[in-house]
Symmetry: C2
């Protein structure tokens, strides 16, 4: 069904009907000039984060299903709220939609967003929907509460550096998707040439991408999760991080952010980096350095944080967290100790930078 069937207001109604507000703080949702939120003082302060996702820059619809995209678009914002030791409660969703999308496409996108909201206990309370001359544009703002927000600037010398989960898998998933996409286009172009664009009556080849045994990598890239569980576990264990952020641009880049804003240095150990088996195997197959993938890959949406040395025992009781190093005096800079223990590699932000010239 074409979007023009509904018109702007009708489309918003169609997409947002059946949305029930779950949180007592969500006083009024979609349908007025503003959404209205009423946090009680006991819940702490309000935290706000926003992300803009643009087709061709942040996602490729060739291999990113719209349902997964909707899910991921929400989760990356929730991740920012958890990275303050906060709890996401509401989101607003703005969409710029080109004419090539059908109502069913948008239903898929919304199904993914609604699923993410259900799983994370978040209400969709507003947004803006508009036509776009070009690709799909998704702008999401997440609003939450944090009793004691944890910033990037509180790391102190001797603090322990910790990360949740494992690193580099989302990056290897992306490489895998890009390879299969290239193989598909190669096969397709060959068929077009040989068949004179199908004029010989032959059918386009049915392409079956080779993803077996790599499911974890794809899931990390296409359907990441935010570490709500880690925030809860830290609170339950009485761990009070001195600084925290989520890993979206790569561990190296995020460590530099924390150290710069906290005016400290750090040492992390290559051998301590948490890397999944599939990530390691895929890196080997692609002849890529797995440490580079873990340090600079990005899109892991794991939590990077520092805790006071005194909480060493407490943090070790939290499952899914790995100690990877410690904070030093600022003048020592930020470095990784290599696996052989003999050399220090100074960290550089090699994360994704869309503004860099090719």
């Amino acid at each position: 069904m074409e979007i023009s069937h509904y018109g702007e207001f009708g489309l918003i109604r169609h997409l947002t009907e059946n949305i029930e507000l779950k949180n007592p703080s969500s006083v009024y949702g979609v349908g007025d000039d503003c959404a209205v939120i009423n946090n009680t003082p006991e819940e702490g302060m309000t935290v706000v984060t926003t992300d803009l996702l643009l087709e061709g820059i942040h996602f490729d619809l060739t291999y990113c299903p719209l349902r997964h995209l909707g899910y991921k678009a929400c989760v990356v914002n929730f991740s920012d709220v958890y990275a303050m030791m906060g709890t996401p409660r509401q989101i607003t969703v703005s969409l710029g939609i080109s004419k090539r999308f059908s109502v069913e496409d948008l239903d898929e996108l919304y199904a993914g967003m609604k699923l993410a909201c259900d799983i994370y206990g978040v209400d969709l309370v507003g947004g803006d929907t508009s036509a776009s001359m070009t690709g799909l544009t998704i702008s999401i703002t997440a609003i939450g509460v944090a009793k004691h927000p944890v910033y990037r600037n509180g790391a102190r010398p001797n603090d322990l550096v910790c990360v949740s989960g494992d690193l580099g898998a989302a990056y290897m998933g992306l490489q895998l998707l890009e390879r299969e996409k290239a193989v598909f286009w190669k096969e397709y172009d060959e068929w077009r040439r040989k068949s004179n664009n199908g004029a010989d009556g032959s059918e386009a080849p049915k392409f079956q991408p080779k993803f077996e045994g790599r499911e974890y990598l794809l899931e990390r890239q296409l359907k990441p999760e935010a570490r709500k569980d880690i925030v809860k576990a830290l609170q339950e264990a009485g761990v009070t991080p001195t600084s925290m952020m989520d890993i979206s641009d790569g561990l190296s880049s995020e460590l530099l952010h924390i150290c710069k804003q906290s005016h400290v240095g750090c040492r992390v150990y290559e051998e301590r980096l948490p890397i999944d088996y599939q990530t390691a195997v895929q890196a080997e197959e692609f002849n890529l350095n797995v440490t580079t993938a873990a340090m600079n890959g990005g899109e892991d949406y794991e939590l990077l944080f520092t805790v006071p040395l005194e909480q060493h025992e407490r943090i070790q009781q939290v499952s899914g967290v790995r100690l990877i190093g410690h904070i030093t005096d600022e003048k020592l800079g930020c470095a990784m100790i290599t696996r052989d223990g003999n050399s220090e590699v100074m960290l550089k932000a090699q994360g994704w930078n869309a503004f860099t010239q090719d």
Copy 2:
């Protein structure tokens, strides 16, 4: 200077340096995973609104200077907060920027946004900056407080229908800009043809658009204001609107929203519509019906609201507000009484709808 000179983080730093937080509730601004806001319970509830502006759909950089665009992008969001009888306090700004923009262009855009924030007492507390494959994308979320939020759904039969300011001027401003743009391209294309694209050594014609005596129309289109003053005046006069929204899609469309959500009807009087002299003159020149411009033009960013009949005297003391009609029982529908008093025209939402097929 090219944006790639800075890179993503450097660009954000450049654009957001020198931003000082003015509101005590703005605890932490740009530079972390989230902005942190701490409203006191006395300030009321939190209100949130968001707008997505896409090049080629919502603005045309041919005649919209970037500084004005930045200003307007903020003001349209503030307007939504005032339309809840709220006060905007913070915004987040997300930008998708194509390579044709220079750092100086973005400085202009930000100068407009900062000016709007200064004038309206709002803090820029966060956002997201990204490359775009296509045109300029601006997504702004405004956050504010409202002690007693006024919704669209509270209008009751016999309430008075009021609007602030005057209507239709922004629409006539747009028509004027579009005409002058067309004249410019016509002259330019003629020169290109005659001169063989400048091969005869002649220079492209210097174009001087004809805007004299039409400054108000341009200002209403390019640099609208949000009616902070009206909200303040209503509060001071002890007026308690039963429903309120801002006029962005046109009076007709907004009246239908209020009546539908409040389950009421309305009668508004053509002769009561507030129309500026320049709007009327321009409509005559373009051979357009000035009532149509006022009812369906859009982008006025005036406030439309209803007040109980008992507050008739109070509302008449508020300058800049016009009574244009009254609320009726739902079954009477929504209509405008024509100037001659003899006929009723049922209202239709003829507002802007980018999803309608041409």
